[in-house]
């Protein structure tokens, strides 16, 4: 074998080795998402929808938040009627994922948990090891960083819109909400919530909310923002009971 042939053979071998390594890398990259998704199998089964009759007014009647006197006065001034200015506002997270009527669901993807509810709440909880940003922009659902402690998801949320309503008043600045979510049993999800809102609360507000797994798929949405609302005058938010009959009513039955 000539020297030239030997060099060619060595070059070919090197080239094949490089291609083999590249191929292996490409294979690894191709497998990575599958492996990441496979890791979800270690997480608890929170599939389906979860309903609560508790995370709402009944709970707050039993256990009002520890509002500071000024905040309590402001809540009193607001009165029992709904605030029309809240009409058609986007969902805001101030510690409750679902309220009076809303079932919630959890979507697991690698490094992330997404929480939604029937009214369009969308919380992105990053559970990929990233740190909480030092000064997050204020948003309606804040910035949520999660971590798994065994089968319990621990979530810290900051960066909440200071004007978001809590206990009938704007929640204020420097809010931190800590949630611990875990299955109490296969059909019951327990969320322990601690809300720190130093502008309006005398002390952290601690609550335990229980959600029951809903057997049926919840296909419907609930929204107040419809093209025609008999209860609220669009634009002004003024309350009403509009008795204008539907256009397609059949005639009355024969007398």
């Amino acid at each position: 074998m000539s020297a030239r042939a030997t060099r060619l053979g060595r070059s070919t071998a090197v080239l094949l080795s490089v291609l083999a390594v590249l191929g292996a890398s490409a294979q690894s990259a191709g497998d990575a998402p599958s492996a990441a998704y496979a890791s979800l199998a270690k997480l608890p089964d929170w599939s389906g929808w979860w309903g609560s009759g508790q995370a709402g007014p009944d709970e707050l009647r039993m256990q009002p938040p520890p509002l500071k006197p000024a905040a309590r006065d402001a809540a009193r001034a607001a009165g029992p009627d709904a605030d029309p200015l809240r009409y058609c506002r986007p969902m805001q997270f101030t510690g409750s994922n679902g309220g009076f009527t809303e079932a919630i669901e959890f979507l697991f993807t690698p490094g992330r948990v997404t929480v939604t509810n029937e009214r369009g709440l969308l919380r992105r909880i990053y559970a990929d090891g990233r740190a909480m940003p030092a000064a997050p922009d204020a948003t309606n659902t804040g910035v949520s960083i999660g971590r798994w402690e065994g089968q319990t998801l621990v979530v810290e949320t900051t960066g909440i819109n200071p004007l978001a309503s809590y206990g009938g008043v704007p929640i204020g600045k420097n809010v931190r909400i800590t949630e611990r979510m875990s299955l109490k049993d296969p059909g019951t999800l327990q969320i322990d919530v601690v809300t720190e809102a130093p502008d309006v609360l005398t002390q952290p507000d601690r609550r335990t909310r229980l959600y029951k797994r809903v057997a049926k798929t919840m296909a419907n949405e609930i929204t107040f923002c419809t093209e025609y609302d008999r209860s609220i005058e669009p634009g002004s938010g003024k309350q009403r009971f509009d008795l204008t009959p539907p256009a397609d009513l059949p005639p009355p039955p024969p007398r």
Partner: protein
């Protein structure tokens, strides 16, 4: 004492309206007379299956009217809440006779918030929501007698 209790209730009601994520922030129940329910019997004109409230329209006989009927409207919960309580958009058929117990409008118009309906065959359908705000507020209201007619 009575006043402070009233104020306390007002505060709690305000908290309930807002801290529940806005679920009750749609409107108050002040437009309905929470102290009493009224019963009427009539024929279903329409089941309006819409957000944020389902409405039931009922033709109720009234000989004093030119056409012989009053048209009543009954507010109810939202479709998703009613689905959880066993309703569907086909729960009531047009032309079906019903007796309905409801919390009347305080302004005297022909309507209110549905509490409970009874069919000709005696079966009972309970609404969602009502004065007080809880989903199952209608559970405390007695079902009216079944309307006359053949099931």
């Amino acid at each position: 004492m009575a006043i402070s209790r009233c104020v306390s209730r007002a505060i709690v009601a305000a908290l309930g309206c807002v801290a529940a994520g806005g679920a009750l922030a749609h409107h108050s129940y002040a437009m309905f007379d929470a102290a009493r329910t009224v019963t009427v019997t009539g024929t279903v004109a329409k089941l309006e299956w819409t957000n944020p409230h389902v409405f039931i329209w009922l033709y109720v006989p009234n000989a004093a009217r030119d056409n012989g009927f009053d048209l009543y409207a009954f507010e109810n919960g939202s479709p998703n809440v009613l689905l959880k309580r066993g309703w569907s958009k086909e729960t009531f058929a047009v032309g079906e006779k019903l007796s309905i117990a409801y919390w009347p409008l305080t302004d005297g118009r022909t309507g209110g918030h549905l509490a409970v309906a009874t069919r000709v065959d005696g079966s009972v359908i309970r609404a969602a929501g009502g004065p007080g705000g809880s989903v199952d507020a209608s559970d405390a209201v007695a079902a009216p007698a079944a309307p006359a007619g053949k099931p």
